[in-house]
């Protein structure tokens, strides 16, 4: 028996990722490796992986995936004045990136961080906290082996957003990136993310918000039909902090987006939203949003708004939880997950959860699955709108609540434009 055959699946997975390119934060990485060793890779028997087959994410080598030919499609956020940071198959591309300098920010790279770096005590900390009560093995794996990422400390209100651009060029690339963002008291940052990053992508982002800090995150996952990605966002909110994240997903064989938010300070606000469009005609589409929000202090407000539009055998999963700890009085927690099935072949699986240990709270959740409203469709057609265009308008209408979570009007227009483009390309 060869050495490779003796390895466990986890050992094979780690071995395939190769040696670390940087040695930063060794203690945190070792601890993450120990966590991962204890929890193992996920399987169907894990409650939060019942509906999503992790085997392609677990495999030592990623299934080959051809990069998408973008054609004339405009770059995402191309009209926005932003600071660009580009990774090609997980490797930082200095030539394509802007200088990592912007007033109000300290930006450095994980691969170059050494001892004494401000992020040393923070790297992996929020991910470690987020491992309970639900294990997040891919996030632990990420912390253990991430090859690069950005470390951003926000001390002011920078004039423009930071845009993390991921480019997929190699059919077997398997990048692991880890970003860490610390927003200091009263500071504010908008982070944009776009692109497929690799044939398979594992990304973690830790966001630590001090008192009154504000963080806006807008992500567009799309373009590559064959992409497989698992991402984790781990956020910690101090008093009065605001966290807002919106993700638009179109295309992708397998996407698992996890978001774990710990609202530790009073009067914190966290909104997490997503719009996913899945057309299984060209390649399978499986999209999973798994969100866990913990209210640990008073007067917190959280919103989860997730919408999925599915056709041609596409599958959507939503697993969302609001946990209200004892003493987190006056919590206002809201969760809605809805899917629009454009045919009978597609499927939506929803698992909304509330767990409440305080008695003066307002928490609600709802989950629905439905088809296009025939009356509304007729209304539009009776005005002369052709049927496919009418369906597109109704899809936009369905997604509106989620898109509303994007505050910036220009960025919202960009999102709507991407949606319209996708809908125009995916008419039957």
């Amino acid at each position: 028996m060869s050495a490779a055959e003796k390895m466990t699946p986890l050992e094979a997975r780690l071995a395939a990722l190769g040696p670390l390119s940087g040695a930063a934060f060794g203690a945190a990485r070792a601890a993450a490796r120990a966590r991962l060793g204890a929890m193992g890779l996920p399987g169907k028997r894990d409650e939060y992986w019942r509906w999503t087959d992790a085997s392609a994410l677990n495999a030592a080598q990623p299934p080959a995936a051809a990069p998408f030919e973008a054609g004339d499609e405009a770059p995402v956020f191309g009209e926005t004045d932003r600071l660009k940071i580009v990774f090609v198959d997980g490797v930082f591309d200095a030539a394509a990136s802007d200088p990592l300098e912007l007033a109000g920010l300290e930006i450095s790279r994980l691969a170059l961080a050494g001892e004494g770096h401000w992020a040393e005590g923070l790297y992996g900390a929020l991910e470690a906290d987020g491992q309970s009560p639900v294990a997040r093995p891919f996030a632990a794996l990420n912390t253990a082996v991430a090859s690069d990422g950005v470390l951003i400390r926000v001390t002011g209100r920078p004039a423009k957003p930071v845009h993390l651009i991921y480019i997929h060029a190699d059919a077997t690339s398997d990048p692991v990136l880890h970003h860490l963002i610390r927003v200091e008291t009263g500071a504010e940052l908008t982070v944009l993310e776009s692109g497929p990053a690799g044939a398979r992508f594992n990304k973690a982002m830790e966001v630590d918000l001090a008192e009154g800090a504000r963080f806006h995150h807008i992500r567009v996952q799309g373009r590559d039909h064959e992409r497989r990605a698992v991402t984790g966002i781990f956020a910690r909110l101090a008093a009065g902090a605001l966290f807002k994240s919106f993700t638009l997903t179109a295309n992708g064989v397998l996407t698992r987006n996890e978001c774990v938010i710990d609202m530790q300070g009073d009067d914190a606000v966290a909104h997490v939203a997503g719009a996913a469009l899945g057309d299984g005609a060209r390649a399978p589409f499986h999209h999973d949003d798994t969100v866990f929000i913990t209210h640990g202090a008073e007067r917190g407000e959280s919103r989860q708004v997730f919408k999925k539009v599915l056709k041609h055998g596409a599958v959507g999963v939503f697993q969302g939880k609001i946990l209200v700890k004892p003493g987190a009085q006056k919590t206002d927690g809201y969760q809605i997950s809805q899917s629009l099935l454009l045919d009978d072949d597609s499927q939506f699986l929803g698992k909304p959860e509330l767990e409440i240990y305080a008695d003066d709270v307002k928490c609600s959740h709802g989950s629905t699955t439905g088809a296009i409203d025939e009356t509304a469709l007729f209304y539009l057609r009776s005005r002369g709108v052709p049927v496919q265009e009418a369906v597109s308008l109704l899809v936009l209408s369905f997604l509106a609540d989620a898109i509303e979570e994007v505050e910036d009007e220009a960025l919202k227009d960009e999102i709507v434009g991407r949606l319209e483009g996708w809908l125009a390309r995916h008419r039957d």
């Binding site: 009356t375 209304y379 057609r381 005005r383 209408s397 509106a400």
Partner: protein, 256 residues
Amino acid sequence: MLEIKNLHVKLEEHDKVILKGVNLTIGAGEVHAIMGPNGSGKSTLSYVLSGRDGYEVTEGSAALEGAELLEMEPEERAAAGLFLAFQYPVEIPGVGNMTFLRTAVNAQRKARGEEEYSAGEFLKLVREKAKALKIDAEMLKRPVNVGFSGGEKKRNEILQMAMLEPKMCILDETDSGLDVDAMRLVAEGVNALRDANRSFLVITHYQRLLDHIKPDVVHIMADGRIIQTGGPDLALEVEANGYAEILKAHGIEGVL
């Protein structure tokens, strides 16, 4: 303009016959009213003409300027010049009223081989029409019918009518849910659109809308047929005496 011959229709779902031989001819520039008790088939007639799913035409025809409507998709009927003002206009969150209007107007122009309006041309036109109909520009920015009062919804229907410039307009119980002032505003909008080349079919329960939109011809519909036709006086007679005597005279019972 519109010629309906011996139209028979049943509901697909319950296999229930609703229209039992409707004959109706509306000339260019004419305004016809159809009145009748609930369940007589008035709304069904409007839906069948505009192409709503769920109805099966078992016999008869309906032609707009000689073109057979019943063979067209709903959007083709609209491009051919048919417009239905809904009794309950649909709310479409997330789609701006202006976007919707422009999409509809340009889709129809494209279908007719006309040049589509540019954003600037469209904006100018919609502002003119909205002003004429006393519609607040703010209403144009809001999502289609979302949060609109009953009166606003109906005025929005009339604005769509004004923008789309149809040849044949059907108003399905446009008076329902309107107070007197709103009804007057809606009627003024309709009257402003009356001309020698545009016809109207006004479906209503009550005479009061016809006080504002003077019909040329009034029809009474019951049990899936037009049972009586007359001038504006017929509506006044219904208002004064109800439908009972008319139905009885035609041997129709048990539908009131």
